[in-house]
């Protein structure tokens, strides 16, 4: 029996879809069977980020309306074994799906896959209820800014009320330089507020944008810091114990420079 993990955030644009695509691919690269599910009905883009847009015939809506079997609606990623995508309908909206229907799909997928990752839309409304309906666990993605963190906090409260646990945190778009000069919250500050387990820190990486545009998840080219970060998170999801990479570690010279710039 596989695990269903919802990838969510509250605030939009913090990297849910990027994280779902990269973690799904990374888990498959580690030999796991994975289904990634786009729950962003009406604003789907997981298919684009994964480069599978042109191959979609059916969506979860067709499965719910019994237009096709679930297995037929799954698009297989040909670049790696064991990775499938279930796309969201673009012409429907979030109210056209009931939470129980999403849960039924997730429950079915978990019988055939080790991991089911559900890409949640932003917000706390129906789209979120649908995405989290079938989830055992959650990954909350946030960026280190006050508004994203407050929204993440809101979502964590809702997930806890729904008895979804563990809830793991991905801190995305982290910039050691900005933390260094005092203009970005550091890891400890974020964790102090959100008070959940940190499963990984993904640095700001311009490679994310180019990979999104090309439809090739970053983890296929494992040289970049972002790719390595996602690979580490995937390993942690499979149960490996790897220490959290400390992007904040900097040389003595850097510290002194920061001390001076901060003073001014």
């Amino acid at each position: 029996m596989g695990k269903v993990i919802v990838v969510t955030s509250g605030k939009g644009g913090v990297g849910k879809t990027t994280s779902t695509a990269n973690l799904g691919t990374a888990l498959a690269l580690l030999g796991k069977t994975v289904a990634v599910v786009d729950a962003d009905v009406g604003l789907r883009n997981l298919d684009i980020v994964m480069g599978l847009e042109s191959r979609i015939v059916y969506t979860s809506m067709d499965v719910i309306e019994k237009q096709c079997e679930l297995s037929k609606a799954l698009v297989r990623d040909r670049r790696v074994d064991g990775l499938m995508l279930l796309a969201a309908s673009q012409k429907n909206n979030k109210d056209d799906i009931q939470p129980e229907q999403m849960k039924a799909i997730c429950d079915k997928l978990r019988t055939t896959h080790d991991f089911v990752l559900v890409d949640s839309p932003a917000g706390i409304e129906r789209g979120f209820s649908n995405a989290s309906a079938g989830a055992d666990e959650a990954i909350v993605v946030t960026t280190p800014d006050v508004s994203a963190i407050r929204d993440a906090d809101r979502i964590i409260g809702l997930l806890q009320n729904a008895r979804i646990e563990p809830i793991n945190l991905v801190l995305n778009r982290f910039s050691p330089q900005l933390v260094g000069n005092g203009s970005m919250m550091d890891q400890a500050d974020v964790l102090d507020i959100l008070n959940i387990e940190l499963i990984g820190v993904v640095p700001e990486d311009s490679g994310v944008i180019t990979s999104t545009n090309r439809g090739i998840p970053l983890v296929y080219e494992d040289g970049s810091p972002g790719a390595q970060a996602y690979m580490r998170i995937a390993r942690r999801l499979t149960g490996q114990r790897i220490p959290i990479h400390n992007f904040e570690q900097k040389g003595i010279l850097n510290n002194i420079l920061n001390w001076f710039t901060r003073k001014r």
């Binding site: 706390i124 006050v146 407050r150 929204d151 906090d153 809101r154 964590i156 409260g157 809702l158 806890q160 102090d192 507020i193 008070n195």
Partner: protein
């Protein structure tokens, strides 16, 4: 303070008669007499501004009070103001809250009050309310959340959201947090938004209503 219902103060723009929450108009009159006697000098011919710290006085009562001040003490009332800070607008805005004056408050003993323990962090969008007594939070009160209690609020973590103690009018209620960085504080009908540090100072702090009728925040040592 000799007299908690009224206070006569000299400010830059002249005399102010501050009237705090009270039981009745006769209580106010008695308190004024006491305060003016205490001044021990004639105020004849002076003008005074009435600062209402409580919305409980009716318009006719204010009129009556003004003519009494004129007749008895030769004091001219030059204006009446309902202080916007730290007092809330009239009670109608918050129907569940009623204001009890400190003198009629019989539940000042926090020892006999019930309390509720909440053993988790209060997150954005969540409200924790306990009108019957005091709230003790074993966690943080995060920004965007709210805690409300009839009595005290004690946060054994960081207070980042808003806290409303003494929600039934108990003005002796206090708010204590290990790390104090609230968005908004309220005790009874006194509100404080601005003068609180947004950065925890690294020691526990306590908020209570101070002598000047504003919420003061200071290092918490013990009761």
């Amino acid at each position: 303070m000799a007299n908690s219902t009224v206070a006569l103060r000299a400010y830059g723009d002249g005399l102010h008669l501050i009237i705090r929450p009270h039981l009745s108009i006769s209580e106010v009159e008695a308190a004024i007499e006491q305060e003016i006697t205490r001044m021990n000098r004639s105020l004849a011919g002076a003008s005074v501004q009435i600062d209402l710290k409580s919305p409980t006085l009716k318009e006719e009562e204010i009129e009556l009070l003004s003519s009494k001040l004129q007749q008895t003490y030769d004091l001219t009332v030059r204006g009446v103001e309902v202080a916007d800070e730290p007092v809330l607008p009239p009670i109608a805005a918050a129907p569940t809250t009623h204001v009890i004056s400190p003198t009629t408050d019989t539940r000042t003993s926090r020892d006999s009050e019930p309390s509720r323990i909440v053993a988790h962090t209060i997150r954005s969008g969540q409200t924790e309310e306990f009108p019957q007594g005091s709230l003790i939070i074993y966690g943080d009160v995060n920004s965007g959340s709210e805690v409300k209690a009839g009595g005290d609020i004690v946060v054994l973590g960081t207070l980042r959201g808003s806290a409303y103690a003494g929600m039934n009018g108990r003005l002796s209620a206090v708010i204590i947090a290990m790390d104090f960085a609230p968005l908004k504080l309220q005790i009874g009908n006194y509100v404080n938004r601005s003068s609180v540090s947004q950065e925890p100072r690294g020691y526990p702090e306590i908020a209570r209503i101070g002598a000047e009728d504003v919420i003061i925040v200071e290092k918490f040592v013990k009761f």
